[in-house]
Point group: D2
């Protein structure tokens, strides 16, 4: 028996990625699509300007979009909702769903840094999911909110985890080259980015610098002790449709050769035995000198693998490398879905 699920913010770009991955999902049955008043009452195919270059799944075309109210009858049998809401709406609406007993797997930033809200990449810190007991107790909810990090954070942290485990982390510099899809469909006007780039993404550096420490932190006595290393980011928007690229410079606690770092990354595959449907090898290493490249490599592992290349000795720190992530899959919808798959396997 599949678990019935819904999507909040179903018409937007991340919402569409949720639908792409959930329409034929072996564990979940997608029954409910919610969006703003403007879309509610319409067939999904009429309410939505479908942006993806894969066809809209037949299954959702005629589904009637409902509003983001957990009391709507369309949510009655739904156990899990995936949230692709903008942060301000997420702030208001996600608790309402949790109160009604829903498990909210959220891609929004609103609750990520709350003490009692798990911020999870299952390959990295699945044990943080235990925070939901505290969350439920504290907030009196039957449901819960479980978040995944910002897209650029996920990319970096997945590659940092095996390094930290083996050699310890001291300092990390990251410069990002981020795709326009990360800003939403209307986020970056073409006038702003053709023959151009923008060396600034609002709040992005702050998110990377704080979320990373929580993700790589340790759960102790019902609290996350933040990891004890430093991260500094400089974020850029570039004219690429999908795929965030990150230049990462790492100083480890113990000495490490590039070959050792590469081996640690390559072996990193903590959930391979769980058979999670959306899981792919978390890190795929490319040997060519000029890879990864977003257009060529973003779909590796169905968009769920971080593709790493150019692992080389750093003249100042220990190592430098380049990492690539499909930002609306591994960095957004796929991240929430993987969280839900893991949660269901482990706790339900």
């Amino acid at each position: 028996m599949k678990i019935k699920v819904g999507v909040l913010g179903a018409t937007g770009m991340v919402g569409q990625r949720f639908i792409q991955f959930l329409a034929e999902h072996p564990m979940f049955e997608l029954t409910t699509l919610a969006a703003s008043e403007r879309s509610a009452g319409k067939k999904y195919s009429e309410a939505t300007n479908w942006y993806l270059d894969v066809e809209m799944p037949e299954k959702v075309r005629d589904l009637i979009v409902t509003t983001t109210d957990p009391k709507n009858k369309e949510f009655e049998d739904v156990d899990i909702v995936f949230s692709a809401l903008p942060s301000d709406l997420a702030k208001k609406l996600e608790p309402e769903f949790a109160k009604e007993g829903k498990l909210v797997f959220s891609n929004a930033s609103a609750y990520r840094m709350e003490e009692d809200v798990p911020l999870v990449i299952p390959e990295v810190n699945a044990d943080h999911l235990e925070l939901i007991e505290i969350q439920r107790k504290k907030r009196g909810w039957d449901g819960a909110i479980i978040t995944n990090p910002n897209c650029s954070t996920i990319c970096a942290v997945i590659t940092l985890k095996p390094i930290m485990d083996k050699f310890g982390l001291e300092s990390v510099f990251i410069a990002t080259l981020q795709a326009v899809s990360g800003a939403g469909y209307n986020g970056v006007p073409s006038m702003a980015i053709l023959d151009n780039l923008i060396p600034y993404i609002k709040n992005e550096e702050e998110k990377m610098q704080t979320e990373s420490l929580k993700l790589l932190g340790t759960l102790k006595d019902g609290k996350v002790e933040f990891a004890n290393f430093k991260l500094s980011a400089s974020c850029n928007r570039v004219p690429v449709i999908d795929g965030h690229t990150e230049c990462i410079f790492v100083k480890t606690k113990e000495e490490a050769e590039p070959e050792e770092i590469k081996e640690a990354m390559d072996k990193f595959d903590p959930l391979k035995d769980l058979n999670l449907p959306t899981y792919a090898k978390p890190i795929v290493i490319k040997e060519e000198s000029d890879r990864p490249q977003p257009r060529l490599d973003r779909n590796i592992g169905n968009g769920m693998s971080i593709v790493v290349g150019r692992i080389r000795k750093d003249p100042i720190f220990t190592v430098k490398y380049v990492a690539l992530e499909h930002n609306t899959i591994r960095g957004a919808a796929g991240a929430s879905i993987l969280n839900a798959e893991y949660f269901v396997k482990k706790y339900l």
Copy 2:
């Protein structure tokens, strides 16, 4: 009386920038254009596929292109040649011109790191020009070779110089986002870069990591003592026509606040009293949170200013900021011409 000058490699992209800046130059009279056998004997307008979005100067249209042989009569009265030759040809040909008594101002990398060859940004290390005495003695030349650095190096070093002078330099990380024009007209196929980026530029990181130390080094007893700090670069090609952007993280020797760094950069204007025709304020600071941007800012100071923005406290090092350079002007042709202007004012 203007000094007669020629351009080697006159039909390529940097060659065209040389011509754009030299056609109406107050100190130089452009008399000689040299290129490969294939172009020689033709009118410049027929030999050249003019790439720039400014018109080809009327003056050079009918000039007959000659070969890159210093004994050609077209070079007879020429005192200075500007070299936009590819590195392998530069290696062979530039000494031949120097031997014939020409001053070769070269944008090629072939001789940059030779002990007796000045590698110069006039705002940074004009005194290194004195190396040519040693060069002439050692090589028995009447002329000389004077080089300017790689485009990405110039961008970084101009911004690092006022910081080093005031606060000392310890470590510098740089991630670059470089324009396609840096690879030459045919260097980056559109298939390689549309909806894409390439996180690798051959030899670029090495050039940045070594040239910087020579440029910021000290001339002592006829030798350059390399500067004593470390630099690590990660270089990327992005779909931008002109304009290299660099994300720079700096650790100074002494403590410094972002405001102090900004002030040091803003005041940096060492040659302003020399009235060099191609000179512009070397660093222009933008206050907007999302600048500099290549399409909007690359032409500031006629393409000769480095535009700096986002000077902010770094969580690990002292400061981080973003710098932008017009790579084929400040980073190539304009750099050689400024070297020549300075040399003429000071030494001739």
Copy 3:
């Protein structure tokens, strides 16, 4: 004594082009900038996100933006307003300015096809300006509304005019490849156009198909008799910043060789003796087989020339060729200003 002028819709993309051209204009003194309530009361430099790659003119930086109300004191001494308003606002506001005695030179489409409103390209149908007598009488205005056509229409019609005059016109097919700037700064999201094109621009084909006939029509007894030929357009948006390209197939009434068409275009220079400041040769012909190209040719004649190339025999009609126009200069702000310059020279 310069005529005092204002700009309506001063903060938008066409508004900025108006300012670029009017800040140092020999006939006009730019005194008043009007925009929405949101911008009113602020300095122009604070109210505006300046999009152009030329610097904001010093002169307007501190000008306080006012609202689009002709009774504001800032409009008191203003004789001419240039309108870059969106069509719905233009519909409502332009008559209010005309009523208050202002000459409104409008780039908006709202009144273009009104019987008593001149739709003018001065090189093509300057005599249609006489319609304003009828307009004033009919509407009881002291001022008047004078419009210029849609950007794509201007490009085509300027090239068709000399052909019609010499050989007559029967049928014209046009396929356009239009720049994103034509849709306004936020008009085309980057997600919509990177590695893509959109074969549709709302109302554009209709505008081209009707405006052309009015422009090339004949003023008779106070009415424009529409030109008697047919035009069919297919319009596309392409990832180009500025510069509309048009593939034009023409059937003339009388036989004509490509060389004759070229000669007619090249000689077409009807206003050259008027010394209008914004005037440039209306048609510039490129001989290279692969020109015109938007990035290389859009600024010819300061963006006021239509650049034509590939004039060749058509296997079905008489001739085919390619035309290029800087759409926000010749196709928008520059068009209105040239109308005003002509009007002032002829009628004031």
Copy 4:
């Protein structure tokens, strides 16, 4: 038993598409990859810079590349070769393979217009394949050369065929907006096309104007009588990776409403009962006002369907519409393979 096949020009862009489609083909077994001397002797994965965003098929990675000599032992058991050779090499080499008894399905233009060489789109003129009897007799070959048209021709002709069949054709104007992949990997430098387009593609208009008439012509007494209509094309290169878009204006012999044209196109499915593996519905119609778009629609039918939209009344001719084709699949490799599949089904 599968038929053994080889690919000539296997390392280039069209060669790679051949491999993508042939690696797991139900009728063909890909055994032989041939390329230039430079690649011969190497493993395919080492000889090739793989450009596609799908992974290189495991199967070909270790295949040793051979030279394009039909006497090589690697060609011994091969019955069919697919040619992705450049035109000049095709001219020389394809006859050598035909002489050796191979069926050469060629994407090259060298022999397309030869009287005894079939130029075939199987949905359009499969009967022209009978020309090979004449070809063999005349040239004394055991094998044969069978060609498919130029990419832009295929797109247009597939949409014209059902119109011609039902209403007759009189005149056709076409303006193309063609992807950069059509010029080969190195064909269009990024410097030439970023923020730009090129209104010229060498020989493209001529190919469209002649090939169309042969394709839509009638085989009579061993000769193709060319179709009796006129076509005029204007071809443009635009910054799109894959996907040629064509704006088509058609004058039919008999009157036809847009709805009737649409119906004729939609019903056009002549080979649906043959179960050819690469076959997809040849024309897919999109109802949205702004489609087809290359990035969103090029992969419909696995890249084998022409996607048509905006079928509307033309003010001069009968109808105008927009057609889109995946140029390296339907317009190149897929076209040759479909020819081969059809040939095998019908004649072997």
